[in-house]
Symmetry: C2
Subunit: 337 residues, 2 copies
């Protein structure tokens, strides 16, 4: 059976290099916009914002906006501000998440809340959200504003949903999926949808790009949840077992709980619901997941959504953009190996 999620093996295909190369010039403008828009006379704002923004996230979401605009032949420049807005929405979510999760680390650095306090994380997150909306308004597309503001509401709803379901080992796979659709896939979907809207493409093309982003987002989150039990702190930028220690119910747990013996279910209830976690419990959790192939099957589920993401784009003719967007799917799914 072996350990499914091992970072010692080489990647099995898929890379974001093509995408990075295609969007390089646009991304440079996005980065300049991000820097300009985190400027404030209130020095704490650029400090906190840059701490997180410069800490080496892949900027996958804004790249999706740039790439779907490219895929659809957009010739204007509204996609730059919208891509920056998407990254700000994401960064604001991370800042607020850290407060909610009481995280110590984020992307391999101390979480902003550990350096500047919870207050600054909440308020700088709000500032970035405000700036994001200002940029969207400047672009002036009501349809894009609709897509992105709806996503903002859905993301927050998903976070609250996750909070309500927290520590509930009875969570079903469907309920879990509903959470990650809202808290992760909604922004991937919106980021991918505004490109074809700006380009004035057909409803079918807009929905295709949205479907690509949405399914990619689900696959991405599933792999993230698997990596939490199998990655290394260096690669993840957070600690292995964080989700376990926080009592988060992710798919590896959902599968292990449902497939488990009554004694195993007692183990999950004790550790995740009641938070009674001893020194050997993370190792025991991993062994139980291995026994039930929970990580392998989480990756399998991710593959399914990855396939849907690819198929969503199939109606577009071949192009370097399409190829790069396909590669991203493989990259996201295979980073678990």
């Amino acid at each position: 059976m072996g350990v499914v999620v091992s970072l010692d093996d080489k990647p099995q295909g898929g890379s974001i290099d093509q995408l990075v190369a295609l969007v390089a010039a646009d991304m440079e403008r996005v980065n300049q916009t991000i820097l300009a828009r985190t400027g404030s006379e209130v020095t704490m704002i650029p400090e906190v914002a840059n701490h997180l923004i410069s800490s080496g996230g892949k900027r996958l979401r804004p790249m999706l906006t740039l790439a779907t605009a490219g895929l659809c032949g957009f010739g204007g420049d509204g996609h730059i501000k919208l891509a920056a807005a998407v990254e700000f929405m994401h960064t604001a979510t991370l800042l607020h998440d850290d407060v909610v999760d009481e995280s110590d680390m984020r992307r391999g650095k101390l979480a902003a809340r550990m350096v500047w306090g919870n207050e600054a994380s909440v308020l700088v997150g709000d500032f970035l959200l405000g700036q994001a909306f200002k940029m969207m308004v400047e672009v002036g597309s009501l349809q894009c504003l609709d897509v992105l503001s709806s996503a903002a509401a859905v993301i927050a709803e998903g976070e609250v949903m996750q909070l309500s379901a927290a520590k509930d080992t009875q969570t079903t796979e469907d309920a879990y999926l509903e959470v990650i659709r809202a808290k992760t896939a909604a922004l991937f979907a919106a980021a991918s949808e505004v490109g074809p809207i700006l380009a004035g493409r057909s409803k079918a093309d807009i929905e295709a790009c949205r479907g690509y982003g949405s399914n990619l987002g689900i696959a991405f989150q599933l792999i993230d949840d698997a990596l939490d039990y199998g990655g290394s702190a260096a690669k993840l930028g957070k600690n292995v077992g964080d989700d376990f220690r926080e009592g988060k119910i992710t798919l590896p747990v959902v599968l292990s709980f449902r497939r488990g013996t009554e004694a195993e279910r007692d183990f999950w209830r004790r550790t995740l619901e009641r938070g009674e976690i001893g020194d050997n419990d993370l190792a025991l959790a991993l062994a139980t997941m291995k026994k039930h192939r929970a990580l392998e099957d989480t990756v399998e589920r991710a593959r399914h959504y990855g396939a849907m993401a690819r198929d969503a784009l199939e109606l577009f003719p071949a192009s370097p953009w399409k190829r790069a967007l396909f590669e991203v799917v493989d990259f996201c799914v295979n980073r678990a190996h």
Copy 2:
């Protein structure tokens, strides 16, 4: 000299009754919109939102949107959603403020964070912000979107500014004004500006309404800060001396510090900067403020901004709307007596 800020005296004029009567029909629609838009299958969202929304705030800000629309003869119904959006922005700010301030009470009830936790306050605040933007987008005025999204960014910037200036007894009156312009007056201004925009009025009329809201907001916050040292918990919905215990630098403190002896300055540094507060220190703070007429003069400053608010509206012809908006100024300034 006497205690300036006493709630035992009768109000000395000014009421919001006329305004409440004029906007009653519209306000009913705003309330229905608020209820509809806090609905979610995630039950924690309506619970938290309604806890705060139904807890008896005056809804002054949405009333400003309705009243300035009325003043400008607006005949459509976009002002309903914008008024609801303004109230959501305000409610989101309160939820996030409570987390930042670690407040126990809000409007005479337990703060939401005490009942549902910091997490829910952060996330439900984000949800309400998302819903606010959705409603603005539905109304479809890019100019109104610009005004309100700019206000959102400025408010957050003001909150961070306040955080940076926190516990700094050297804060100048101008620096303090800059904070309240951003964190309070910006939303009053935006709430008052979107009415004439919807009504298609001239730049002069739009700026007049904005000036009214902005100056009213400053006066309102100044009185709030005075009441914190002179009101009663029942009337304020929070505890007397909260600002003192939290080390907040408001105008009564700024004036007392600058007018004080070196020994008095040591007192403010010990209590507000270092947070070393003994049993008698609130009484001592009040006595020092009385000695320097700090509360009286804070109210005098509020009167000045109240006068500016009234003058901003003077170019409008006489109408019940104008009369009601003038009365609101007196109500805000005189509630300290």
